[in-house]
Assembly symmetry: C2
Homo-oligomer: 182 residues x 2
């Protein structure tokens, strides 16, 4: 499992840091922390593509910034998921792999309602990422989104981590299954 991790201020990270700990302990997990690797946004495209090729399961782990991923992860999409490699003519490098967005949304679930400050269900904001994965031929696993991370008590956060561990097993099992029966 390859974990593409993007947090611009790791020292201020609490939720994503704990989620990363859970994912990091999975068998064969490889973590690539983009803000540590590329503080100047100068992504090594070849290294990233090689890491993707080694993995069957890919996780995008980040806090939600403006209803999406932090800018460096978007830059990673723009640079690494290249035409002729990830999509388009000859672009089949990611076909059949499994992809999962694991995110911390900060605001509580109630904020993602017509009456709430974010106006729509969180699912409405997922379309760009889901179709980024699908356009590259990847299987899309239902995103794991921690809501209310801004004010989550330690015991609640432990619950989220336990839930992530369970879903992680399902992610690994399901995608391997689907991967062998294309």
């Amino acid at each position: 499992m390859l974990i593409i991790h993007a947090h611009p201020r790791p020292s201020q990270s609490r939720v994503v840091k704990d989620l990363l700990s859970v994912l990091h302990t999975r068998p064969g997990a490889e973590v690539r922390s983009l803000y540590q690797l590329y503080p100047d946004f100068d992504i090594d495209v070849e290294a990233e593509q090689q890491a993707l090729q080694r993995a069957q399961h890919i996780v995008w782990l980040a806090p939600v910034y403006w209803y999406s991923v932090p800018a460096l992860m978007k830059h990673w999409f723009d640079q690494v998921l290249a035409h002729g490699w990830a999509y388009g003519h000859g672009g089949e490098a990611l076909k059949g792999k499994a992809c999962w967005w694991v995110a911390s949304a900060g605001a509580p679930l109630s904020a993602y309602t017509p009456e709430g400050m974010h106006k729509r269900p969180f699912a409405d904001y997922m379309a760009p990422l889901e179709n980024t994965a699908r356009f590259c031929g990847m299987q899309w696993f239902k995103p794991f989104v921690v809501h209310g991370g801004h004010s989550t008590a330690p015991e609640v956060l432990s619950g989220w981590c336990a839930s992530l561990k369970t879903q992680c097993e399902a992610f690994e099992a399901l995608s391997a299954q689907e991967g062998t029966a294309p």
Copy 2:
């Protein structure tokens, strides 16, 4: 009108370049080309915020990359639309301003259907940007999206430019109207 323009490869730009020409000739237009200003992603937040404060109408002009804006424009959102300035306690700098996404989507409209390669209507991909603007208290004007830019004949592109000019007038008029009657 402030035009935030983001194209990573201006020499390869055809559609966005022409749209920019239309917008640039509007009275009082100011253009900030992010990839020219900040090739190293090192955004001058204060300069960007000052430009925003000078304008009543804000245009986000860019090609569509992975169902969203290019990474440097996302970085601009993450950096410039700051807590305590654009939203949150004391964050009212953009309140009442008008915001408009002008974009070139490359693929034809038929690609944005359940049968097409992008699976959903383009409107499904607009939620993150729309709510970025709205969360900052801005009025959101219906996006102007050129479809089929990858293979648009010059005369078709001229038609898009004429249409942009007309809608530009509506954008300026409508938002000024709404702006004076909050």
